[in-house]
Symmetry: C2
Subunit: 504 residues, 2 copies
């Protein structure tokens, strides 16, 4: 058989990380295994192979050696090189019944929503106002580049070996001193660096939740938290997140169900932007202390305020030691850093560390070192000042555009901080339906249902105003208004509920 | 009260990342909360505070504002600034009973061994031959520094946002093509980047193991795997890792217990260095295929051979599609990269990705991008050539020193690759006891028991020969011989088993 034909569509790459001989062996091996070169075929002598493929004779020899080692070919002295009688069936057979071997999988409905969001944010033809992503063009890359250049030339090699599971020690110290200066009672031993605050939440679920445990969550609340609690087979108790904090209801839950955790975002709540006033924070803490309730305070947006600074966090006010705080640098620096943090009593941090050791030993060193350098040069404050101003501008532009182009079909409250508008649609328009129309005209958002653990939220949606610059933002909102028009015209006058595919 | 005294031991740092006003407020806040400045205390006017601390008046004003926002002080117009009646008790009370809230914890005996190893490897006065750490002075930092400098200046900002859970796409492609050229049948969709191969193992346990499931492990085997399987409440079946692969025993296990997984390191096994010959690999795969057994092939050391190249991996020979391969760059580049990988059928990768999304969304971007650049510039091969030569030298130096200084008290087989000597002590000497003496004279290693799921291994230990350069290695072995002498003299002539603290 003419071996050279097998190489007609193959581009051998002399500058590839893979040596040439190995590229050649790879092509032959694939064809032998797939029975395209049948057993018993005599292969060209090395010299001939070399000429045919325009490579050195050594390369040809090495290619054959690799195949010999794999027992795919054999050389008979004085006779030539032959393809062996390979006993590998071409198709994997008998196949392993993989799905039967998996442990029962949690409801995968919601994760697929998040994955689609992440995917849709990456396509170019749609203006995505869906994912909670900071604007990449605002990442402080110049400073990071400078730090990398300086850092790596002066690096202590041991910084690139294994570091403690709890985090790079200088970074934990810098984080603790940053928080102390915000009025927190925290030592480095109370902190832990994790791979994004997602991992913090994961550790919390692993350490605290057994199937059937109760968890109080706000309604609506962060999608990723609902998923994790569901995956842990926890039972969710909903606390309305609009208006005054319903402490009576919470107390009722505490007495009736003795929930393990309350998961709450007191500042610029995701998705609805609500800020809990100081006095209600204190009342919540008093109630929690009385019942020894553990509070998980998630605060990714607290530094992104556009008018006055929000009240101190629950952790800063924590007088009974029951608040576990979750933070992240993803929203204020860039998500690819993958560095979030936890603050908790030392005994909890120790338990987290035991679990995290199983998961990944520790979070990546380079990000942690970089972040430490960034914080200790005092660069975060000015970056925050810069993005606060920029995001405030975008919020105002978006608010004006929403009023101008989209009323009277939707309503919203101006968020005082964070990333999102939480919009309510006029009666008769469903957010899923709107999303369907909206993607046709090139804009996307997250329908409200994703933020509820029940089936609420069908006429609400979340719109992120920080990812795109003002012009694109306005363009996105104009497109949204087109989609709204389509639906309003369809429903003209009567506002009847149109038929839609059942949700969840 | 004289506020200035509170600042005598405090160094205000004008160049700190924390603004001066916030540093001042932090000191005052701490003292108010601890009741050192009692409620009702009149604080000095801002002008006076500024003079006292040699800061600007604005700084003093801002410090008071921060405390007011925290409701720790209040200003009465025309009268002055007073410490509020703070209702925070000094000690956290009532305290949350944390340990009662945790889910039942797995046996934490073994994790503490690993953590101690990681800690002991970091101290300077002991030559640690314990941890399986590459030598930091051999890390390819120059190339990484150059790549960082180039990379960040040309970086696509979106590379620092969220990337797919399965890994940075160009890196997955580079990995797949690297493996194809080793004879594997693998597409990018069959690969996944994880935070160290530790995370790969963690995902495998999460996806496949329910409490009570059987797992076949070699005996001895990698410590971290035993821990993970134990934590998942799996039941372990031991397969002796010395001599010929005991396929009869494995078949017996397969028939009797229908184990979910076989965890195996066919090449340069950790700890004992054993390499399974090609013919036995094929026989293992045939048996596995017959029983549809899933094989987890862990291969961190395969590239580190010191004489001939080892046989193809199980994954390369996998004819029934039942092998999941685990790899890592920690041992051959540096551990701080935190990038390991998995190869599995696409359906398995998808399930892994769902779980990893809960754990951390994705592994850090900077490491993945860097590693991609490193691989695609073809730098890995020459680095491997370099460290193979260096580690081979160390192995030979260590082997000579062991023979010269430590025989007849210990015995070992020369490892053909990897990181370790697996030593057997003369009758009557226990590894734990030797470790006790050894740390007194400044050298450490891992006692054999750590690698068994039962109580075997008391007269064996593992010694890592790659972490230190030749001189230190010889010095470490000389110290080891001193410790051996002490024990041999104690037991002189009779070799009776001395009393020791019970193990586990």
């Amino acid at each position: 058989m003419d071996i050279s034909k097998l190489f007609t569509n193959v581009l051998l790459q002399p500058r590839s990380p893979i040596p040439l001989y190995s590229q050649i062996a790879g092509v032959l091996s694939e064809n032998i295994k797939n029975n395209i070169i049948p057993a018993g075929t005599k292969l060209p002598p090395e010299r001939e192979l070399a000429t045919m493929l325009r490579v050195s004779r050594t390369t040809a020899i090495n290619a054959y050696r690799q195949l010999e080692r794999q027992e795919l070919i054999s050389t008979k002295v004085g006779s030539g090189t032959y393809v062996s009688n390979v006993t590998l069936p071409a198709a994997p057979n008998p196949c392993v019944p993989w799905p039967q071997l998996f442990v029962p999988s949690p409801n995968t409905q919601l994760p697929s929503i998040i994955r689609e969001l992440m995917a849709s944010a990456a396509t170019d033809d749609i203006i995505s106002l869906a994912a909670g992503m900071p604007d990449p063009s605002l990442y402080p890359l110049k400073n990071f580049h400078r730090l990398l250049v300086q850092q790596f030339s002066q690096l202590n090699n041991s910084d690139l070996g294994h570091i403690p599971t709890e985090g790079y020690t200088p970074l934990r110290r810098a984080l603790a001193s940053m928080l102390v200066n915000k009025g927190w009672a925290v030592k480095p031993e109370n902190t832990m660096i994790v791979t994004g605050s997602q991992q913090g939440l994961y550790l919390i679920t692993k350490i605290f939740l057994e199937p059937g445990d109760y968890v109080v969550v706000e309604s609506p609340t962060y999608l990723g938290a609902i998923q994790l609690f569901n995956a842990a087979n926890a039972r969710l108790l909903s606390l309305p997140a609009a208006g005054r904090l319903p402490l009576d209801l919470l107390q009722d839950y505490l007495i009736r169900y003795r929930p393990k955790l309350l998961y709450i975002m007191p500042t610029f709540q995701n998705p609805n932007g609500r800020v809990i006033p100081l006095e209600e924070r204190r009342a919540l803490l008093n109630l929690a202390a009385k019942h020894r309730l553990v509070i998980i305070e998630d605060d990714p947006y607290g530094e992104l305020y556009y008018s006055q600074q929000p009240p101190p966090s629950l952790k800063a006010l924590d007088h009974y030691g029951g608040v576990i705080a979750l933070g992240t640098f993803s929203k204020i620096i860039f998500p690819g850093l993958r560095t979030g943090w936890l603050v908790a009593p030392e005994t909890v941090i120790n338990r987290f560390a035991l679990e995290k050791q199983y998961i990944d030993l520790h979070t990546g060193n380079i990000s942690q070192k970089l972040l430490y350098d960034y914080l200790s040069e005092g660069l975060l404050d000015s970056h925050l000042t810069f993005i606060r101003a920029e995001y405030k501008k975008r919020r105002d532009v978006a608010a004006n555009a929403l009023k101008r182009y989209c009323s009277p079909h939707l309503d919203f409250t101006l968020p005082e901080g964070g990333f999102y508008f939480w919009c309510t649609l006029s009666r008769g328009i469903l957010a899923r339906q709107l999303l369907h129309e909206a993607t046709k005209v090139g804009v996307s958002f997250v329908p409200g249902e994703a933020f509820y653990s029940d089936t609420s939220g069908s006429s609400e949606f979340r719109l992120c105003f920080v990812t795109h610059h003002a012009d694109q933002l306005v363009e996105g909102i104009k497109r949204l208004s087109k989609a709204l028009q389509v639906l309003a015209n369809n429903n003209a006058g009567n506002y009847t509920l149109p038929a839609i595919t059942p949700v969840i």
